[in-house]
Symmetry: C2
């Protein structure tokens, strides 16, 4: 049983069941079936076919199914069907019919690869003895400051309950307080890591930012491992091993899909001017990541490289390198990864002013034990740090950064009662899927993308 991809010469049906892009060739012998039946065999109609598997005489497949019976399970009006291959549907168009794009080779491959990456994530951590934690999606905490949040509520907009001073009385809301969608499971992950030792999360996270770019989603999935007794170097080692493991898993299990996607990307790049094309093909790039150590440099070293670069001297950066302390822009990260080192780079020890309150303060008084991993063509794919485990230093920094210390009593408790050195990182899952599939728009690697103005399906 499956869906018809093509029907050639009233004789050869390419039948697909969704498990692979390789269709089963069904041969309907000339004259054997009624014309009324044959007319119903159209692209995307569904069939149940019985027959004999035989060695194929044609090229392109090893086996044919010589049909003895053909039943149409579901018709598909060829004129009305929204995917007309002869019109070469664009990725933009297919996004509008995201419920049907799974039936194309491109999205078949993308989502089978996405599945394989997700499974590899679980297998990697399970085999290492990490505990998978489901951290909360609805949260009363907005302390991390990672970005704009969505409000979750059952209060009516028409006539919300108010306090005496006229402000909204969120004590009347479902959870007895104002609640939002989580931006990260890290803080709760730390609570679990300081009991189980090594844990990870893999769940949806949210940003209510009005970013209409090919790199941003309002709803996306993140993997956040958190490990007691790890320092920054242990953290980097785990992240690099993890990324290589899941890429290797897909290379071993989804070769056909990757090769299809590599060809798709090569075809797409043929449309670009020579200087915009990638130096490596998709398979080459993945092999390269597997076979090379990630470059590890400090933020300070990165600033030196950028400042001294011809790119900077020729004023080719939109944001010039003003000096130590500046936040790196996407163009700087891409220069380091794509032009200078030509491989993934782990940047560490950033100025504390441009990083979060929970990162461990280095002895220099200026930097924190942060690390970001930058990938070619994608930019930041991992952000992590050793966490500040010293209660006094943490509280002082929280106050400096206007984090509400009292509300975070539970977070600080882990530093009060048997605190331990610990570290962790977050990997944006869709960015990883983009990296492995070569899809340039993040909306093409999640089933039903949520972006400003778009929550269809």
């Amino acid at each position: 049983m499956g869906w018809v991809r093509t029907f050639r010469n009233n004789q050869f049906i390419a039948l697909n069941d969704g498990s692979t892009n390789n269709n089963l060739q069904v041969v309907v012998a000339l004259g054997k079936f009624e014309d009324d039946l044959l007319k119903r065999i159209t692209t995307s109609s569904s069939l149940k076919v019985t027959g004999n598997l035989v060695a194929s005489l044609g090229k392109g497949q090893n086996l044919d199914l010589n049909a003895t019976s053909v039943e149409v399970l579901g018709d598909c009006d060829a004129e009305k069907y929204p995917i007309q291959l002869r019109n070469r549907p664009t990725l933009e168009y297919l996004r509008e019919i995201a419920h049907l794009r799974f039936r194309t080779n491109t999205f078949g491959s993308v989502f089978r690869v996405r599945h394989a990456l997700a499974f590899a994530v679980h297998k990697f951590y399970n085999d290492k003895g990490f505990v998978y934690m489901h951290t909360p999606i609805v949260t009363g905490s907005d302390a991390e400051g990672a970005g704009e949040m969505f409000r979750v509520t059952t209060l009516p907009f028409d006539n919300p309950p108010k306090n005496e001073d006229g402000s909204i009385n969120f004590k009347e809301d479902f959870f007895g307080r104002a609640t939002n969608l989580t931006v990260s499971g890290q803080l709760e992950g730390e609570l679990a890591a300081t009991a189980f030792g090594e844990i990870y999360t893999f769940g949806p996270t949210f940003r209510a930012e009005n970013s209409n770019t090919p790199r941003h989603l309002a709803e996306f999935w993140m993997i956040e491992p958190e490990m007691a007794f790890y320092d920054l170097e242990d953290n980097m080692n785990l992240a690099e091993e993890f990324i290589k493991y899941i890429i290797k898993h897909v290379m071993e299990n989804n070769r056909e899909d990757l090769e299809f996607l590599a060809q798709r990307l090569a075809d797409e790049e043929q449309q670009l001017p020579q200087d915009k094309r990638s130096e490596m093909g998709l398979m080459e790039k993945l092999e390269f990541v597997l076979n090379n150590n990630f470059e590890r440099i400090t933020y300070t070293e990165a600033i030196d490289i950028l400042r001294e670069s011809n790119h900077n001297k020729k004023k080719k950066f939109q944001f010039p390198i003003t000096g130590w302390g500046m936040d790196l822009q996407s163009e700087h990260e891409r220069y380091l990864v794509e032009k200078h080192f030509k491989k993934p780079v782990i940047l560490s020890n950033y100025p504390k002013e441009i990083k979060s309150f929970y990162m461990r303060q280095n002895d220099d008084g200026k930097t924190v034990a942060a690390m970001d991993i930058l990938a070619p063509g994608i930019g930041e794919i991992v952000g992590g740090s050793q966490r500040e485990e010293r209660q006094e230093k943490l509280e002082k920094r929280m106050k400096e950064m206007n984090i509400p210390v009292e509300e975070m009593w539970w977070y600080l408790d882990t530093r009060r009662y048997g605190t331990v050195p610990h570290a962790g990182f977050g990997l944006g899952f869709e960015r990883m899927v983009q990296f492995v599939t070569g899809m340039s728009n993040i909306r093409d690697v999640i089933a039903f993308p949520r972006t400003p103005g778009n929550a269809e399906f």
Copy 2:
């Protein structure tokens, strides 16, 4: 490195790293360490210990670590630490300090078992070639009618944008429409199944119902497989195989934790009057489920059994059996499972009036191809059905049930273009964790429970 569970006789440290309830016994030889250090070795303080592993002379462990050095990583004030074992902390109390309860044996075991069940879910479906789909959490669709929903919004309560007629203008909201948290990924899962053949989801779902019971959460995780070319019996077979597989996985991989939880449950039941105690221990119950076929009966047969039962005749049901067509209450389900059959029961072919619009209509005109799995002590653990794949019948039923047909254009498209027979079900993950761990309150099997009035941590 780990946390101190106990320190006996100034000599024996039970050290725990969270990977198991079995502590490592660290022996600090008398006189070898300073008193100032020994005083800091308190329950839940964290240590780094170096030493020699030797065969233990004591009972209860095979190995001792004879300490050569002991470093306190984090102190823990024994007076202030919120978990004082001598006070026998209750599960209710520990729920208020959910960030620390992971450090107890009970919650250590519960969450390691939860992890193992989650991994088994992914392994089961991966090994069968199912594609893991991340269906959307924020949804513009509220068509399923599975329950009250949470609004997701960035509109201000103070002065929300309004239409000319005074209603709220949700076109100004982040997604350009009113959006909610999903109650189920099923409808989107069907879109993917009608391309990939076999898919599953495993993600958070939400109910804004004011149910303050030990069985309800506002945020919980569900697994929803959806399979093209499956009928109702295929669906039952998969669900039964799936439940047995994940139980078997935990029996094989988490024996120690299960035995601990079985003992905990037995101790808890000692406090109950004889007639309230379970007939089987936890391990027995799990073995029993593995080794017996689930009983399969129709709704109609269930009504007959219930009507003829002594329980009904003696008017012991709060809701008497009024006849065919009535919805079954929890007490009826429990009677069937716990008193009558004494094993899991699959009930099928319910009256269409008490089931959802998308369930396949049987030829009798009265029932739909639904199936629920009822488990001892838990009640409904799986709800599923064959889906109505015939466009006309589906649209007619949607109109009868006031489902907005136009808004659901994408759902109906799968019936327009190559529709196929298909089926699926949903398993409530926390109910499953309860069943396997024997925890009677659902708030004790999810890390940070969300319930009416509670979104702490």
